[in-house]
């Protein structure tokens, strides 16, 4: 037993020594899901790998996956901070409070929290305008759908998801003003079984296009079994539906991670709150497939207009679900309203859970 303890402590000293010898910038990532989930977390992990490839030996990355939101997250973030991480990305909304709590204790470490709204001296919040991609998807759905009804698989009724539903519908209504959406909430970000069940239920109700704000490929597989079209989410899901996927919103965090790590190395890192869009490269559209050429052309034109800033998805006139006016003709929604969006627009066949 003594020998074992001796061996263990020697190993400890060695590992500490080898850690100190490296002068690379240590960048750490906290994941809520598995890094091979095929969706949200995988997209962040690809970003992490791009960061490593970009800087080579100059950075060292570490990640923790499947970390529940709550005290476990707080401990994991503190562990990062104590193990020498200089820049820490926490990639789920529920990590916001734990990130802030730990950040207070470690003023010299920089933190970046995804999809939240609070910032501090050493805590940045970053987000992606996913809804821009949703608008393009809606446009495609409006042209492709014969039923005029799309099925939307929602995770949680938070503003980010509500933005997506409304934006998708606005895109579709720009083609077909009577277009409607049916929504099913699965109350999970990743639950292949539940998501697939939701897809089946929606298809049985007569929708002929499925889109999702959840992370598994379950709905894509169901859509391909039933012979209808669908959109991928967070990662390119073309492998799950080679004849089914029209396009996918692909989260491309790598560019952002490289930019922020560079800023840290240059000493120019400051706190900020960013909400980047397609134009900044934080999200991309997967290749437009399984659609006629005119639809493809329309999708590409829409994307180009969003990139150039000519088209803003949330531009009036827009009527709320209850029939009251939200935006007057030509009026554009401000970011503050969008970040707290908690109502549907006209044409959503669902009651927003309140």
């Amino acid at each position: 037993m003594k020998k074992l303890i001796l061996a263990l402590s020697t190993a400890a000293i060695l590992s500490v020594a080898s850690g100190a010898a490296q002068a690379a910038t240590k960048v750490c990532f906290l994941y809520v899901g598995s890094k091979t989930d095929g969706g949200w977390t995988q997209a962040h992990d690809i970003g992490r790998q791009e960061l490593e490839n970009h800087f080579g030996d100059k950075v060292e990355t570490v990640f923790l996956e499947n970390v529940p939101e709550g005290p476990d997250a707080e401990r994991a973030i503190e562990r990062f901070a104590r193990s020498g991480c200089e820049l820490i990305f926490t990639t789920s909304f529920g990590f916001m409070e734990p990130t802030l709590k730990v950040a207070k204790k470690f003023p010299d470490v920089k933190f970046e929290h995804a999809t939240g709204y609070k910032t501090e001296e050493n805590v940045t919040s970053y987000n992606s305008r996913f809804y821009e991609g949703r608008y393009i998807q809606g446009k495609i759905a409006g042209m492709m759908s014969e039923a005029g009804v799309a099925g939307y698989i929602g995770s949680f009724p938070i503003p980010e998801v509500v933005q997506g539903i409304n934006s998708f519908l606005l895109g579709a209504q720009s083609v077909n003003p009577d277009f409607a959406i049916k929504v099913v909430w699965v109350n999970s970000w990743f639950d292949a079984g539940k998501e697939a069940d939701a897809a089946k239920a929606l298809i049985d109700q007569g929708v002929d296009i499925i889109t999702q704000h959840t992370d598994s490929t379950g709905p894509m597989q169901v859509a391909s079994e039933r012979g209808i079209k669908a959109f991928g989410q967070a990662s390119d899901m073309i492998e799950a539906g080679p004849k089914t996927q029209l396009t996918a919103i692909v989260d491309t965090w790598g560019a952002y991670y490289i930019k922020r790590t560079q800023a840290l190395m240059d000493g120019t890192w400051t706190t900020q709150s960013t909400w980047d869009g397609i134009v900044d490269g934080i999200l991309q559209m997967a290749p437009y497939t399984n659609m006629p050429d005119d639809v493809k052309q329309a999708a590409m034109d829409t994307e180009a207009k969003i990139v150039s800033g000519e088209l803003k998805p949330f531009t009036g006139p827009i009527t709320k679900q209850d029939g009251t006016e939200w935006l007057k003709a030509g009026e554009v929604a401000d970011d503050g309203t969008l970040l707290g969006l908690n109502f549907y627009i006209k044409g959503v066949d669902d009651q927003l859970p309140q």
Binding site: L8, S15, F63, L64, I158, P159, P353
Partner: protein, 365 residues
């Protein structure tokens, strides 16, 4: 030749002591093989699992934070299980404890008083106990299977909490995100040694509950009643004990402790209500209860050890890049070996050769 398990005439005191250590040895050997097969240095891996979390003060604090709810719930469950009542719904009672205990800091969020915290804790216990009372009532009234009813009520509690934090209890200044207001200072469970880490009063509650429950089971009539009714309801009735009352006692007791764990977690470690307040503590505690052989003192140790493997799993992910799934598999090894080695307490392993087996048939031993 074959291997046979033979029941011992009496349980073995020797193996009762030895079996945890045999289990630990087997876990280390199996783990070393696993880590080597994955191309990781087994010594590094075992170091991160069992030693690293214990080398730093802050990490010891985290260990106590993680262990406290597991111990509190498991101690309550041990009484329930010993009385032959199968409460599988501690997760739901934990959640309802958190919900009911949060009524005060959410509705009276500007009320700063020393009464707030005790009130929250008491309400949390009541919430957990009443919620556990439902399966007890169903069992005594309609003879409903308490395993199913208590388990299904977990999902009801989860959805109820989810509805609350998305609806009526949502923070009005929180951009519609699903969480309640942050509790004010008088509603937060104090930290024990704020200078060195975040461990809060929760572990003290766990310690008190452990000692009191141990005392009750060992030295009080109630403990005797639990054991008698648990082993034979008929014998209990001859002694004048009521199984109906026992069902209520067992469920209310375990529910109250789960509720206390819930409100302690919400108030101490989280500081607000949110859709997820438990990484399945209520279910993990069932493992802890059996790992501690349904003995409160054993449960305290088992809770600490299980918490250690969680922390160790994280440490191993960071220091040697061990995948999360492998860390869970290793945790599974530990549980498997501990429970398997307990077999040695009541059984002995014998190698039986063909010849010997034949003579045994003739009555020799």
């Amino acid at each position: 030749m074959r291997i046979e398990l033979e029941k011992r005439p009496a349980y073995s005191a020797l193996f009762s002591m030895l079996s945890p250590f045999i289990a630990l040895g087997l876990t280390i050997i199996a783990g070393a093989i696993l880590f080597t097969a994955l191309g990781k240095n087994p010594i590094d891996a075992l170091y991160s699992f069992f030693i690293e979390p214990l080398t730093e003060l802050w990490s010891l604090h985290e260990l106590l934070i993680k262990a406290a709810p597991l111990i509190l719930i498991a101690v309550g469950l041990s009484v329930c299980f010993r009385s032959n009542n199968w409460n599988i719904g501690a997760e739901g009672q934990f959640i309802m404890g958190g919900v009911v205990g949060s009524i005060v800091p959410i509705y009276f969020h500007e009320w700063n008083s020393f009464i707030v915290l005790p009130l929250m804790l008491i309400m949390g216990m009541i919430g957990g106990a009443l919620y556990a009372g439902i399966p007890a009532l169903l069992k005594t009234r309609f003879n409903t299977n308490e395993i199913l009813s208590s388990l299904m009520l977990v999902y009801v509690a989860e959805l109820f909490l989810d509805w609350l934090v998305r609806g009526p209890w949502r923070n009005p200044e929180g951009f519609n995100f699903p969480e309640s207001r942050s509790f004010n200072d008088s509603a937060v469970l104090p930290e024990l040694f704020p200078a060195s880490g975040g461990a809060n009063m929760g572990i003290i509650f766990a310690l008190i509950a452990t000692l009191l429950t141990w005392f009750m089971m060992r030295h009080m009539l109630k403990g005797f009643e639990v054991s008698v009714l648990g082993q034979s309801a008929r014998a209990g009735r001859f002694a004048g004990f009521s199984s109906t009352k026992m069902i209520f006692f067992a469920f209310l007791f375990s529910g109250a402790l789960a509720g206390l764990a819930g409100i302690s977690e919400v108030s101490g470690a989280i500081g607000r209500l949110q859709p997820d307040i438990s990484p399945a503590y209520g279910f993990t505690a069932i493992i802890v209860a059996f790992l501690g052989r349904l003995n409160p003192l054993g449960i305290f140790a088992a809770g600490i050890i299980l918490a250690l493997t969680y922390l160790g799993g994280e440490a191993a992910q960071i220091s040697i890049g061990l995948p999360d799934k492998v860390a869970r598999v290793f945790q599974g090894f530990l549980l498997f070996f501990v429970l398997a080695c307990d077999t040695l307490i009541h059984y002995r392993v014998r190698l039986v050769t063909a010849v010997k087996a034949r003579t045994e048939g003739e009555g020799a031993s």
